[in-house]
Amino acid sequence: MKAPLAPAPRDADPARDVLRRAHALLEDHGLANAAAWKRDHPGRLAVGYMPVYAPRPLFEALGCLPVAVFGGGDRDVIRGDSYFQSYICHIPRSTLELGVSGALQGIDAMVFPAICDVIRNLSGMWQMLFPDVYAAYLDVPQNFRPEVGGAFYRAELERIASDLVARGALALDPERLRAAIVTENARRRALLALGDVRREEPWRCPASEAYAITRAGGALLAADHLALLGEYLAAIALRRGSPKDNVRVVLTGAFCEQPPFGLIKSLELAGCDIVDDDLQLGLTYIEGDIDAEAADPLGALVTAFLERGAATASRYIGDAHKGDALLARVRRARADGVVFAAASFCDPALLDEPMLEAAMDEAGVPYTSFKYAENTGQFHVIREQAGAFSDAVRLWESAP
């Protein structure tokens, strides 16, 4: 018989434990978890991948643990800097730092999805620096016709799958892929439920917590993340509180390099309820369920990418109007304004931003913009800027 759990102190936050576990996963980039998983699953592979989108259900179907390697955060970069000029963003340096320092030793393969020239070239650097680790560049199509871009993407997925199988992954089995898709769909719905709480009762679910709980999923199998999300959602439902007089904002930045945690907290402290964001875009990149009933589940994965990929800086939007997707998010979130945050020296995000700002101008949506690096340590300027923005939005809204 299990020993009864000690009752939580009367005022303890019901989400305290689950948040603590999520933070523990973030703090070491999920590497301890990957090591433990590998001990429990001898011979299986941990597959690291870089932002933004990676076909996680495919990796899971191959019996691998997908691990999001989204930079080194604010960890000291000593050797990584010597590989990059001052005008390159920060994420490749800190990622390389993780590599050359041996922190990624438990990662058996690295996948570099096509989002920009830096990640692309980093895939080549990885091949040169770590010849014993499988480093794959995953080209994603910018043509969304099934017989054109779809055929190409399918071949890309098959190529990577067969390379992983040759390195010890399980054979690509349609039924295992179907099961992985089912779980992925469930995880996505749980993330949507989290989004609903943020929109409807932001006091119950601050963005900084949502971020931690979401990002923790980068280090977990979808089923484990689903459980974590469920636990968190159940815990915050028990919270007692009341709405605050904050402004509602959407935080957007085509996030590849992740902003420091302190930055998100600073925005909250400046009076912003971040009711939607694209911080962990990859986990919600496919908008809608992947067809788990399809006779060909790999085809379903491809179709979902072609037809329901999120509008973001690294994806060609064809004839669609730039900014429409952001505006739809602003409206759905009933946001008062937009906070644009872009990683310094990030061409995709920074070149997108003026177009998105123009769309916000056209629609009369107020916004503010700033740059950051994952290791930014001082937030007072950002806090002041966000504070001034939220004051201005309030004034603007109360104007007759």
Partner: protein, 457 residues
């Protein structure tokens, strides 16, 4: 000197120097380019359609087969840089909300557009009838044309060229490009042109391209001679003008490259070196390979820094962004769409970093270079990300130390003349010491890299 890349002293001194030094091929190139801009100026009244597209992966033969006229925004940007206008254009784009962190070609083009879109001959460039987004070797291209799409009311068609990450072109990659040509690009061009593709004309264009490509490879390989009759970087950017831009596939291109080849052969036979901004090059003390694009805002100064020290560039990678013909590729008229796909897939910036290291190593060895210099430009992540590792790798493979310079393409704030000159001189001194057996080979990366800051000197 050509209009495409104009170098010079004062205008009068330049005219005098030109009259004295001009080769027949240069006169021809100048006329070709001026004719092209005349055609562009008259395009609307002549009923000719205008296609904006990019240099890497350009589909000049296809555009030519439709009788359309290409405009290459990168070339407009570099010309603006050489004509001293890019600083103001960039400032204009930054006032409009564009970040100082991003590619200066994009901002220069946008600033030029907002300032009347005057081409190099001073006449306004026509608006595009089609934006052909040849998405080859650079992610910024997509953003660039998204921005232009918002400025012009015209269709855009994307040609996504997959990256050669494994150093190989697979059947799937090639099929993907061919299918896009069939399903998207050609139909879009047919709609704009109002007529079907004339396959015979495309074949004729491709046949002519291959002849011009043969000739340019001979020009590049002439640099194996001592002294080299060409400078394959500073001089090389003139040579690639016609083949990278609007002329590949034309009779003019054949005439230009065959004439150029004869001139270069003549210089080689006479034991002469290339022309520099200050006249014929003297003693060639150093044979260098250069990686990365040049700086355009101080192009002459940059060139002089090398020429003054007796450094001639015998091979460069920048002159391969519009095609790696010395790797054996030729446009093949027997397979019109397949060959266009192969061309796009094979451009230098579409090669992986390990493949770039292989190419540079090959150049250092085959051209018997004394050293290699990387000009790392702030603007261009496609070129720059990974260049420090490239340098380390090349030093390891060849035993030759590398030099590292930082500047920008067209943002004059990032050309620190004294700083660059010092670095080049120190590098050449290191080569000198090595040649005399006075210094050990350098094998390690510079530990702390200088921060490139606006106004750095």
């Amino acid at each position: 000197m050509s209009e495409l890349v104009r170098v010079g002293k004062s205008p009068a001194a330049q005219r005098a120097a030109e009259a004295e030094n001009k080769d027949r091929s240069q006169v021809r190139q100048k006329r070709m380019i001026s004719d092209h801009f005349d055609k562009l100026a008259r395009a609307k009244e002549d009923g000719r359609k205008v296609v904006y597209t990019f240099v890497p992966g350009n589909l000049t033969e296809l555009i030519g087969a439709f009788g359309m006229l290409p405009v290459l925004p990168e070339i407009n940007a570099l010309q603006s840089g050489m004509r001293g206008r890019s600083g103001a254009y960039i400032a204009e784009a930054e006032r409009g909300g564009h970040s100082e962190d991003v590619c200066s070609y994009v901002k220069c083009d946008l600033g030029m557009l907002r300032s009347g879109n005057l081409g190099p001959t001073g006449t306004p460039l026509p608006k595009p009838d089609l934006l052909l987004l040849s998405y080859t070797g650079c992610f910024t291209f997509m953003k660039w044309f998204e921005i232009l799409k918002a400025e012009y009311d015209c269709p855009v068609v994307m040609l996504h060229v997959p990256y050669q990450a494994t150093g190989q072109v697979t059947r799937e990659m090639r099929d993907y490009v061919v299918r896009q040509l069939e399903h998207d690009v050609i139909p879009a061009m047919e709609r704009v042109a109002g007529k079907k593709l004339d396959l015979d004309e495309l074949v004729a264009q491709l046949t002519r391209s291959a002849r011009a490509e043969d000739a340019i490879v001979d020009v590049w390989e002439s640099a194996k001679a001592r002294p080299s009759p060409i400078d394959a970087y500073f001089g090389g950017v003139y040579y690639v003008g016609p083949i990278f831009s609007s002329f590949r596939g034309s009779e003019d291109a054949i005439a230009y490259y065959e004439e150029l080849r004869e001139e270069v052969r003549g210089r080689a036979a006479r034991g002469e070196g290339p022309m520099t901004p200050d006249g014929p090059m003297g003693e060639q003390k150093w044979r260098l390979v250069v990686e990365g694009p040049p700086n355009w805002t101080s192009f002459n100064d940059f060139w002089r820094m090398f020429a003054k020290e007796g450094a001639v560039v015998v091979a460069s990678t920048y002159t391969r962004v519009g095609g790696l013909y010395d790797y054996g590729f030729r446009h093949d008229p027997r397979d019109p769409l397949g060959t266009l796909a192969d061309y796009c897939l094979g451009c230098y910036t579409n090669h992986s970093l390990p493949a770039r290291a292989d190419l540079l190593e090959k150049y250092v060895r085959e051209y018997q270079a004394d050293g290699f210099v990387i000009n790392s430009v702030k603007s261009c992540n496609s070129f720059s990300a990974g260049q420090l590792l490239l340098m380390r790798e090349l030093e390891k493979r060849t035993g030759v130390p590398g030099g590292f310079i930082e500047s920008d393409l067209v943002d004059p704030r990032y050309f620190g003349k004294a700083n660059i000159e010092n670095r080049l001189q120190s590098y050449l001194q290191m080569l000198e010491a090595r040649r005399e057996g006075r210094a050990p080979e350098r094998t390690a990366l510079p530990v702390a890299l200088p921060v490139l800051a606006p106004g750095a000197t």
